[in-house]
């Protein structure tokens, strides 16, 4: 067991370590000083953060419905939520283009309002949201489902309205799961390439920029940008992950079963 596990860990770490080894401090600073690379990374960070916020905002209510309501078609709804996980991301990008493109169902009315998804930040966020929304919903749903139903009953019997009980009991207890979901969405979004490159080639996000550099200048040139992106996304991911799982939600520790 240890050996197979170790193989997998090595398989994950080896390319990353090898990649990090290709770059020097000077090549990294040079990459960071290149406007195109810097802008692309900042854009990725920004859009991934927007997506994480958006996914949480719309994902938690859906997670609540899936966790607590019993209705016909509930498992079908859950399957729909999981669907983006099974759709190849380039396929997702093309499908999104049909809806959010200039002549698409949503794209056309939106363009009358002056909002364009094709080749804009909105398109990037749409693509990121599509591929990462399941993480927000599922993470929050699992957290909500693990809350003892008697806690909500207790709150209600003590005079709490459903919304008071949600705000003061359910949400604080599910907070860690919701945050974990947001972090996963963020991580998934910042690494998204396939869907983004189709719906919004411009403005260029970091993974797209790395791909461009790879095509134009080859492996060596793209490596510096790749390492920079790796460092930035790993750093933000680790910080957020620590916040989400650690002391921030210490009160949400699940009671151990007897």
């Amino acid at each position: 067991m240890w050996m197979l596990g170790g193989l997998l860990i090595a398989f994950i770490l080896l390319p990353l370590v090898r990649l990090a080894g290709t770059s020097s401090v000077t090549s990294l600073t040079h990459a960071a000083e290149t406007a195109a690379i810097r802008d692309a990374i900042l854009l990725s960070l920004q859009d991934a953060a927007i997506t994480a916020g958006l996914a949480t905002l719309v994902g938690v209510p859906l997670a609540y419905v899936l966790a607590f309501r019993r209705f016909r078609g509930r498992s079908l709804l859950q399957a729909v939520v999981d669907l983006p996980l099974a759709v190849p991301h380039t396929v997702a990008g093309i499908a999104l283009l049909f809806v959010f493109g200039r002549t698409g169902w949503i794209g056309a009315p939106a363009s009358h309002l002056g909002i364009s998804f094709y080749g804009s930040q909105w398109g990037i966020v749409a693509a990121m949201l599509f591929v990462s929304a399941p993480f927000a919903v599922n993470s929050a749903r699992v957290a909500l489902e693990s809350i003892d139903a008697n806690l909500d009953r207790a709150a209600r019997s003590l005079g709490a309205s459903p919304s008071f009980a949600f705000r003061h009991v359910t949400l604080p207890l599910a907070g860690r799961g919701v945050m974990t979901g947001a972090v996963l969405v963020y991580a998934r979004s910042i690494s998204e390439f396939g869907a983004v490159v189709i719906i919004a080639f411009y403005p260029v996000t970091a993974p797209v920029e790395v791909y461009n550099l790879f095509l134009q200048s080859g492996l060596a040139q793209s490596a510096a940008a790749a390492v920079l992106l790796l460092l930035v996304s790993l750093a933000t991911f680790l910080v957020l992950r620590t916040l989400a799982s650690g002391w921030l939600f210490a009160g949400a520790d699940r009671e151990r079963l007897r």
């Binding site: 009953r153 207790a154 003061h168 009160g251 007897r258």
Partner: protein
């Protein structure tokens, strides 16, 4: 049962969950009265409390608190305090914040009342602890304080002692006893523990398979169970089944007064009332039996007697020593008059047992 003194009244209450149906529940509980609902697991006890509290919709019937109809109300509008089996304290709040929760939800603040309650249940020193760091008994004390802090008009307790170990349970049982005796609001306590029921109950209701089998003053229900289910729940043991002839039912050669029943009946006895003696001096229903099996336990040992009828006597250990009971020894057995109860045999079980062997009745 004074209808006037009933501050919690339940009429024809019904609800269902899948194929399980709870129906036709009628209960009346006055202020300062404790109704204990006794039933085996899966009888629908928790379901009943949940329906009264409003966690579950009633499909029929109604619930009134001091004449106020609450059947259709959301739980937060009923003013019913609820104590859960597992305490259900909010894990992200301190003990004190748990107790304050009801007041906060009602936009009230009454620090003195909270302190008073925490003091009363002996948890003042634990105010700043989180539920996770409390013992089972401490949690349940906090849960009691929490359920009472906002001034409920009814208190419902869903097996609050059954998750506790024996010493803690006995300790908390006396805390409950003190609390309930001077509570001033109707209390409904649900349990499957007979001792707990007898200790806490003013009124006793026995429920099984979603149906109310019997309800009444606790001592009356205990002495006069209406059917076999109630008798078994209350610790009566079945002696056997028989048919009433001339006001008597004969089982295993012993004739019992049919107690105004007729047709097929079951006879139950209280095992702790069975008297054993070496010589036939005592009065009552007497017969001679052989000791079949002895199970030593504390405080009472079980002595199985036979061959007919198979009776188990619960014997105090000091008595046990005096009688020098041994397997296969012959002994005089006496069943006192009030220790036998006859109930209708609803199932008409007709079990083919050795009891059907007819012997000439030995009337006393």
């Amino acid at each position: 049962m004074s209808a006037s003194g009933s501050d919690l009244s339940v009429r024809g209450l019904a609800t269902r969950s899948g194929s399980f149906q709870l129906e036709g529940i009628d209960l009346d509980v006055g202020s300062d009265e404790v109704l204990v609902v006794l039933g085996p697991s899966g009888a629908g006890k928790t379901m009943l409390l949940h329906t009264i509290a409003g966690f579950r919709q009633a499909t029929a019937g109604n619930v009134r608190i001091k004449g106020r109809e609450v059947t259709g109300l959301a739980p937060e509008l009923r003013r019913i305090g609820f104590v859960f089996q597992d305490a259900a304290l909010f894990p992200h709040l301190t003990a004190r914040d748990n107790v304050c929760f009801g007041l906060r939800a009602h936009r009230l603040s009454s620090p003195t009342k909270v302190d008073e309650l925490m003091d009363r249940f002996g948890v003042s020193a634990l105010a700043d602890r989180t539920p996770r760091s409390l013992s089972g008994g401490e949690r349940q004390r906090v849960a009691l304080a929490r359920a009472l802090a906002f001034g409920p008009e009814v208190l419902l307790l869903d097996e609050p002692l059954s998750a506790l170990d024996q010493p803690t349970r006995e300790e908390l049982r006396s805390v409950l006893q003190d609390l309930l005796s001077g509570l001033g609001i109707p209390a409904v306590h649900v349990t499957h523990d007979r001792d707990e029921a007898f200790i806490l109950a003013d009124k006793l209701a026995v429920i099984e398979s979603g149906k109310l089998r019997q309800v009444g003053a606790a001592d009356r229900v205990a002495a006069q169970p209406a059917d076999a289910v109630v008798a078994k729940m209350l610790g009566w043991l079945e002696l056997g089944n028989g048919h009433v002839i001339d006001g008597k039912v004969v089982i295993g050669g012993l004739a019992f007064d049919a107690q105004a029943h007729s047709g097929d009946v079951l006879v139950f006895y209280r095992p702790e009332d069975i008297r054993l003696s070496r010589d036939r001096t005592e009065q009552g229903l007497l017969f001679r039996a052989r000791v079949q099996r002895i199970v030593r336990a504390v405080p009472l040992s079980h002595v199985a007697l036979g061959p007919l009828p198979p009776i188990t006597a619960l014997v105090l250990n000091r008595e046990f020593e005096r009688l020098t009971l041994r397997p296969d020894a012959e002994i005089e057995v006496q069943i006192p008059q009030g220790s036998v109860v006859v109930v209708p045999d609803e199932a008409r079980t007709n079990r083919p047992t050795a009891l059907e062997t007819w012997r000439p009745p030995r009337l006393l």
